[in-house]
């Protein structure tokens, strides 16, 4: 029970962090079809921006300013780069963002150095909120939960209550129709891309000090974000949300459940020993592959259901 409750909390927090990153990518990916490889790089930039800003102005201004900076950068990227590439198709777009990711990484290394920077949790949030079964629950985690919940609410309201949101929502499911209805598609694209990168930036501000702010952080977060977005399904923010939480929980609980295929076979009476063919594979326990489960799930869901969990159209 104790482990269960704590794991549930852990899984939620991690899932929400994933959601912060993935929500922006869902917007971009669903609407523009852009496999944005630079998304995690913007997340990294967000963290670095926040670090620098917090040196001068403190954490709270950074929380606002860094995402705005990232959003502006995103808008510029879309207007002066992606828009030109868009007509060449999706593979060039992908490579464009790939090139961008390389450049951002190098620029970050050149600007902030190759070593991690001491971007710390602000003092106001650096305390333990409550203790559950002897494990402290840091206030900053609660803050992360709060921010991501707010973010989810804000995106949701923005999409359902504002005019531009409705247009975006329409284009998430039917990208071709929006132009036909006489809307300025390039501008909608710019807004979406800027919003998506701003969200990534925000995730960077929040995640950068929770984790470690270093030039490799984009590299390590990149693939998992794609997994969440595709697993959740294109065009579905809810799907993305649920996928994030599932990914968070699955990885968390996989750590706790110490079983392997060999244990399963033992239930049906087959005992796996070292001599059994494939013993090396059969004795792999769940915690060992916990972090790989998202990829297994991704492959499975795409094979069975190419539109993802709640997608409105095929991936």
């Amino acid at each position: 029970m104790e482990v269960f409750v704590v794991s549930l909390l852990n899984g939620l927090v991690y899932g929400m962090l994933l959601f912060m990153l993935a929500s922006g990518l869902t917007l971009i990916f669903s609407m523009m079809g852009v496999l944005n490889f630079a998304h995690a790089s913007v997340y990294m930039l967000g963290a670095y921006f926040a670090y620098t800003i917090s040196l001068y102005l403190g954490f709270w201004p950074a929380l606002i300013l860094a995402p705005i900076l990232c959003g502006l950068l995103g808008a510029a990227i879309e207007m002066y780069g992606l828009r030109q590439v868009h007509r060449h198709g999706h593979i060039p777009e992908l490579l464009f963002t790939f090139g961008l990711a390389l450049i951002i990484e190098k620029v970050v290394q050149m600007t902030w150095g190759m070593v991690a920077v001491p971007y710390r949790i602000p003092d106001g949030l650096d305390f333990s909120l409550f203790t559950i079964y002897g494990t402290q629950f840091p206030a900053y985690r609660a803050f992360m939960l709060l921010i991501s919940a707010l973010m989810f609410a804000a995106i949701w309201l923005g999409l359902t209550r504002t005019r531009i949101g409705l247009i975006i929502q329409a284009s998430l499911t039917h990208p071709d129709m929006v132009g036909a209805l006489g809307h300025n598609v390039p501008r909608v694209f710019t807004i979406v891309f800027a919003a998506g990168t701003a969200l990534a930036g925000l995730a960077g501000v929040i995640g950068g000090n929770y984790r470690v702010t270093e030039p490799g952080m984009a590299f390590s977060m990149g693939p998992i974000v794609f997994v969440v977005v595709v697993f959740g399904g294109l065009g579905s923010l809810t799907g993305c949300f649920i996928a994030s939480i599932i990914m968070g929980l699955i990885q968390t609980f996989a750590v706790v459940l110490d079983y392997s295929l060999a244990d399963l076979l033992e239930l049906v009476g087959i005992v796996v020993t070292k001599a059994t063919p494939g013993a090396e594979f059969l004795t792999v326990s769940l915690p060992r592959i916990g972090a790989l489960l998202p990829f297994i799930l991704l492959v499975l869901i795409l094979v069975l259901r190419p539109r993802g969990l709640m997608g409105t159209r095929d991936t």
Partner: protein, 429 residues
């Protein structure tokens, strides 16, 4: 068929062969009387990457399938080869000549293609891409976890000297291996070229162009994808085998994402539209990675800039650029572009020099100086802490860019006029 006709028709292949054979001698160390091991390894890498990129292009360029996990085929092929070599060596097997060892890699890639392809080709388009991404991550992780086949972090080491050669060659020197590599990569490339001329190859093109229509001319696109994937696996496996022969060690890096990305980059930069594009791309990408990285740690930045520029201005890749000249060449007026090209080249050089100088100054300031490197640009020692080099570099970069813009406009006018002319004369564009 008379030889002249063959030459006219197949001159590209001949040219590739001649270049491959001749290039190492450019780096030959006449004073010591030996080949440059570096140049040979680099060229071997280019050759095997070319095979790998061509195999990748069987999916991307020819079947319209974007794969993020192509390296698993390459890697499994490499591991198969390593195990085969070790087995041959351990049991002194004489009936398997050294020359045929790469087939083991091909078979490995083929088997992997049958398994991984079965899963991946269930879907197309983005779903396919994402499945391959997932498979790639899983295979790479498995390679680290399972020691028996993959040898863990240290990988599988092997020795290519197995004394069962038909020609009695030991394959101990890099040059001998390079020759074997030329033979195999030419063989694989020609086979892949021929594949594009078969019903399967054409139908793969058709599924790329219009996946739905293919169904209504009687073909199941899924089967087409599957076959194409398996065959691509065979050739990727051969590329992996060549890797094993060159480096004599196979580690998990051979099936990791970086390798897959390299194939994608090579195929794209070279141009996926034509058959020969990926070969060109492999040469450029390997050259950048292993050549330019010798001189500057900012090579990744240059690579990034190269992509962005290519993607924005030449989405057809290098081969696409060359292809654009075809109608003008057919009119016999390529010469008229000479002067505009030269005129554009000057600001390019100026701007390029400025840009490189800025980047190098910046890297030196932030990273290089601390590593104790002395910065010298264009053979001149430069002090990155003084203002002058910076000022000059920035001025060069900006001036070059502006000048290039102006020159570009002129160039475009000239170019468009020529193309219009070609159109008017009915020469296909």
């Amino acid at each position: 068929m008379n030889p002249l006709y063959l030459l006219r028709r197949h001159w590209v292949w001949l040219a590739i062969l001649v270049i491959m054979l001749a290039a190492p001698f450019l780096f030959y160390d006449w004073s010591r009387g030996r080949h440059s091991g570096f140049a040979l390894t680099l060229m071997s890498e280019m050759a095997l990457m070319a095979v790998f990129a061509l195999s990748y292009n069987m999916l991307m360029g020819q079947a319209g399938l974007l794969s993020f996990g192509h390296a698993i085929l390459f890697g499994i092929g490499a591991y198969f080869t390593a195990h085969t070599l070790n087995w041959v060596k351990a049991n002194d097997i004489m009936w398997l000549p050294a020359e045929l060892i790469p087939l083991a890699g091909g078979v490995g890639g083929l088997c992997c293609g049958i398994v991984a392809g079965y899963v991946a080709t269930q879907q197309r388009s983005t779903a396919f891409a994402m499945i391959t991404l997932g498979l790639g991550e899983l295979f790479a992780a498995a390679a680290l976890m399972f020691m028996t086949f993959f040898g863990g972090e240290g990988g599988i080491t092997t020795n290519r000297v197995i004394h069962s050669s038909i020609f009695g060659v030991a394959y101990s020197s890099a040059w001998q291996v390079y020759c074997l590599l030329i033979a195999w990569s030419m063989f694989a490339a020609i086979l892949m070229y021929l594949l594009t001329q078969t019903p399967l190859g054409r139908i793969a093109n058709a599924t790329r162009d219009n996946y739905e229509r293919t169904q209504f001319v009687g073909y199941n696109p899924r089967v087409v994808r599957y076959w194409q994937f398996i065959l691509a696996g065979f050739f990727a496996g051969i590329a992996g085998a060549l890797y094993t022969l060159v480096y004599e060690i196979v580690t998990f890096d051979t099936l990791a994402a970086v390798k897959s990305a390299n194939a994608l980059l090579a195929a794209f930069i070279g141009g996926g539209g034509g058959f020969f594009g990926p070969i060109l791309g492999a040469v450029v990408v390997v050259g950048l990675q292993s050549g330019v990285s010798l001189f500057t740690s900012a090579w990744l930045l240059y690579l990034g800039v190269l992509f962005i520029v290519m993607v924005m201005y030449a989405p057809g890749g290098l081969i696409g650029i060359i292809g654009l000249h075809a109608p003008i060449a057919r009119m016999g007026r390529l010469g008229e572009l000479m002067v505009p090209y030269l005129r554009a080249l000057v600001p390019t050089v100026v701007g390029g020099a400025g840009f490189v100088a800025v980047v190098e100054l910046a890297t030196h300031r932030t990273i290089g100086a601390a590593q104790g490197k002395k910065l010298s640009l264009f053979a001149m020692p430069v002090d990155s802490s003084s203002l002058w080099p910076w000022a000059i570099a920035v001025v060069l970069a900006v001036a070059g860019a502006l000048w290039l813009r102006a020159e570009g406009r002129q160039f475009r006018l000239r170019w468009n006029a020529l193309i219009e002319d070609a159109k008017a004369r009915g020469i296909g564009v």
